[in-house]
Amino acid sequence: MSKLAPIRDAVMERLPQRHRAEQRFQAYGLTAITLAVLFLTLLVGSILTQSLAAFTAHRLTLPVTLERELVDPRGDGSEASLRRGSYNAALQAALRDQFPTVHGVGELRELFGIYSAINASRLLTDVVNNPDLVGQSVDFEFPISDDADRYLKGASVSERQIDMNASLSIEIAGNVARLEAQEAVLAPFADRLRQVMADRANRYAAAAEAALASARQTIDPDEREILEAEAQRAQMRVQQLNERLRPGADFLLGPREPSLLVRAGDTIVRLTSITSGGREATGEVLLADQAWSGSVTRWSFWEIETPAATRLITDRQMVFVRLLEERGLVRNAFNALLFTNADSREPELAGVRGALIGTILTMVITIFLAVPVGVGAAIYLEEFAPRNRLTRLIEVNINNLAAVPSIVFGLLGLAVFINAFGLPRSTPLLGGMVLALMTLPTVIISSRAALKAVPPSIREAALGVGASRTQAVFHHVLPLAMPGMLTGSIIGLAQALGETAPLLMIGMVAFVADAPNFGFTGFTDPSTVMPVQIFIWSTSAERAFEARTAAAILVLLVLMVLFNAVAIYLRRKYERRW
C-alpha cells in the first residue's frame, strides 16, 4: 500500500493534463466536422440556387397555320416534299400575326430573335409524322430564347412600370412619335436621369483630377504621358455629359442611359429626347397600336433601368415578350427539355440527356472491365501468386499506377486505342476503356487490402478440413472480403464517374447534338459524359448556360448519390452474410 501511494499520486498529477488533451482533441474534431458541414451546405446551397433557373423555362404557344404552299412545296404531300417545307416561315408568320404592325427588316429581325429557328425542326417532325396537319392550324409550343427567358425571370434586367393618370397626346408619324402632356409629367424622370448623368460626370471629373495629380508626381515621362492621356479622355467625357446636361437644352436619351418607355395600350414609344420643361418629348415607336386614337389619359411609364448597351435583349424584344406574356401565350413551366434534349448551341434547347446516356454507357463498360479484371488480379496476386521478384515488381507498378495523373490515361487511350487499334473516338466504348484503365489500380489495391484483412485463421480452417485453395478463397475468403472490395471498387468507379481530363484527350469533349442510342449500338455512337458536359457548358459564353451548368452538376450529384446508394445496398446485402 505504501509503495502504491506515490504511483497513484503520479497518476493523479497527470490526470487533468490527460483530460485536457482529450477535450482539446474533441474540440478539434468538432470544429473540423462543423466546418465540413458548413462548406457542404454552402456548396449544395449555391448549386441549388444557381440551378433553379434552369429547371423552369418560358415557353411560347402560338397558333401556327401550316399553309400548304409553305410546308408542302411540291404539293403532293409526300414525305420528301414535306421535308423541304419552310416551317420556320410558318412560325414567323404566326408570330407576325401577333404583331401585325411590325414591318421592316430590322424590326422583324428583332421579332424573330425571341426564339431559335431550330424549333421549326420539331414542327417538321410533327408534320412528317402526321401529314394530315398540312393546311390546318395547330397550337405549337416552343421555348423562347434564353435572353428573353432570363428577362422574363427578372434575372437580367431591372425595370418598373408606373401607371399615370394625366392627359397625354401622342402623334405618330412613321417611326417617330411626338408626345405632349398638359403637365410636366416627364420632368421627374428627366431630372432623375439628369442626376444620374451628373453623378457620372462628377466621377469622370474626379478620375481626371486623380490622373493629373499622379502625372505631376511621376518622373517617368512615358507613364506621365499615359496618365495625361487618361485625364484628357475623362475630361472629354465630362464635357460631353455637361453638354447634354446644359440647362434649357433638350434632354437626350441614348443607349447608355436607362430606357424610358411610354405605353398607352399597345402603343409603345421609347423616348429619345425630353424638352427642358418636361412637357414634351419625341421618341421612337417600338410598337404601334392599329386602333390608335391620338390622345389618352391612362397610360404608363415603363422605365428600364438597365441601359440597352448592357443587356442582350433590345427594348423592342422586351416589348414583344412582355406583351406575349400578357396575352397568355408565354408561360413559365418545368423545363423538360433539360432532360429530353441532348446538347445544343442554344441554351434554351440544351439538355443533359446525351451526356446522361453517355455516362451510363461509359460506366457500364468501365464496370464490366475494371471490376472483374481488378478483382481477379487482386485475388490472384493476394491468394495464389508466388512471392517473388516478379510479383513484387508488379505490385510496385500497380501502386504507382494509382498515383498517375488521370490525363495520362487519356493520352494512353489516344495512342493505343485510337491510333493503334483504330477504335472510334468520342464513344462510350473508348471512354469506358480509358476509365477502366484508370480505375483498375484502385480496384486492385483496395481489393487486395480487403483480402488481406480476412484473418488467416479462416483460410487455415478451410484448408484444414480439406478444401482446395480455390475453394478456401471462393467459399470463405471472398465473401468476407466482398464488402471491402465493393467499397474500394465503388470509390474507384465514383472517381471515374466524375472524371473529365482523360476523356478530353479521346475526343469526348466534341459537341454532340444527338443523344447516343440507349442500347447496344450506343456504345459506338459519338457522345459525351456528364462531367465533360459540365465542363463544356461552364466555358460557354451565354449567361443561361450558367444555370444549366449548375443543373448538370446537380444531376451528376444525384447520379453519384444513386450510385453510392446501390453500393451501400450491395454492401449491406453481403455483410448480412458476414
Binding site: 484473418p455 487455415e460 478451410a462 484448408l463 484444414g464 478440413v465 480439406g466 478444401a467 470463405h476
Partner: protein
C-alpha cells in the same frame, strides 16, 4: 479415384491396423524421420523422428515455443500455407510419403483432420460449419445424410444439446468453449483417419474439458489422435503415448505411464514436475 473413394479405401485400411490390446502390439500410423522445419532462417524444429501408433492417443507436451504446433502442422502439410516455412525430412502416413509430389494436400487433409490452437469457426451458420467439409468432399448423397452427419458430429463433440435449436445462427456467436467444440465437430465430420488437436481444451471449463476428454477416448476406437496439451494431468488421463519436446527437438517419447513415472531424461523430469516451462 475420387476423394470419397480414397477415404473409403482409407477406412478399410484402418480396420486392419487396429490396436489389438490382447496382443499388445501397435500398428504404426504416422512415422516421421528427421523432420526439420525452418521459418525463414530460423529453425523451429530439428530432426524429429517419431512413430505414432494407430488408434491411440498421443500427446505432445513441452514448454511454449518448443515447436509442438509446428510439428503438428507438418503432418497435414499446413505449413505449406506459410510462405517462409520450409519442411525437410520424411513424414509417412500408412507408409505413404506425405510430402510426395503425387500427394494432393486436399486428400491428405481430408484424411488428417486438424483442430487449431485458436478456435476458428467459419463466419457462417453452425450447420454450415460442420457441413462444409462433408459437402466439399461429397460425403453425403443428399440433404438427409448431411443432416445426419452434422448431428452425429455435433453429438460426438458434445455440442448438440446446446445448439440443436439454433443451427442457423452464426458459429462465431458461440462462446469460446462452444466454438472449440464446434471446430472439433467440424474436424470429425469429414471422418478423418488421424485427428490433430492443438490444445483443444485451452478455452474450456473443467466440465467441457471432461466431455472433450471423453470424446477423445471414444474417438480412439476408430481414429488416431495426436493432441498438444499444456496440462500434464490431461496428457496422463487421455493419452497412451507421450512425446516431450524441448527447443525444437524431441527429447523423450514413450508410453505415457513410463514418461510420467520413470522419465529417462532430466529435462523431461524437470518439466513434468513443474520445475521449468
Amino acid at each position: 479415384m475420387t476423394a470419397y473413394e480414397k477415404l473409403q479405401a482409407g477406412a478399410s485400411v484402418r480396420q486392419e491396423t487396429l490396436y489389438h490390446p490382447v496382443e499388445g502390439s501397435y500398428t504404426t500410423k504416422v512415422a516421421t524421420k528427421n523432420v526439420t522445419v525452418h521459418y525463414g532462417d530460423k529453425s523451429a524444429l530439428n530432426g524429429v523422428s517419431i512413430e505414432i501408433p494407430a488408434c491411440t492417443v498421443t500427446s505432445f507436451i513441452g514448454p511454449s515455443g518448443c515447436g509442438k504446433s509446428t510439428f503438428l502442422r507438418s503432418i497435414n502439410r499446413m505449413n505449406d500455407t506459410i510462405d517462409n516455412a520450409r519442411v525437410s525430412g520424411s513424414i509417412l502416413i500408412d507408409g505413404e510419403e506425405v510430402n510426395d509430389r503425387n500427394v494432393d494436400p486436399v486428400v491428405l487433409r481430408a484424411r488428417v483432420g486438424m483442430v487449431f490452437q485458436k478456435p476458428n469457426p467459419f463466419p457462417k451458420t453452425i450447420y454450415e460449419n460442420v457441413a462444409y467439409g462433408p459437402r466439399i468432399h461429397g460425403l453425403a448423397a443428399d440433404k438427409d445424410q448431411l443432416d445426419a452427419i452434422v448431428e452425429t458430429s455435433l453429438r460426438k463433440a458434445g455440442l448438440w444439446d446446446e445448439v440443436a435449436d439454433r443451427l442457423d445462427q452464426p458459429g462465431t456467436s458461440l462462446s469460446g468453449g462452444q466454438q472449440q467444440r464446434l471446430v472439433i465437430a467440424r474436424a470429425i465430420a469429414v471422418n478423418p483417419e488421424v485427428i490433430l488437436m492443438d490444445e483443444p481444451c485451452s478455452a474450456l471449463d473443467p466440465i467441457a474439458t471432461a466431455r472433450i476428454e471423453e470424446l477423445i477416448d471414444e474417438l480412439r476406437e476408430n481414429y488416431t489422435l495426436i493432441i498438444v496439451t499444456h496440462s500434464m494431468a490431461q496428457a496422463a488421463r487421455v493419452s497412451q503415448m507421450t512425446a516431450f519436446f524441448h527447443l525444437g527437438s524431441l527429447v523423450e517419447y514413450g508410453p505415457t505411464e513410463e514418461i510420467f513415472t520413470n522419465p529417462r531424461d532430466q529435462r523431461t523430469q524437470d518439466y513434468i514436475t513443474g520445475r521449468f516451462g
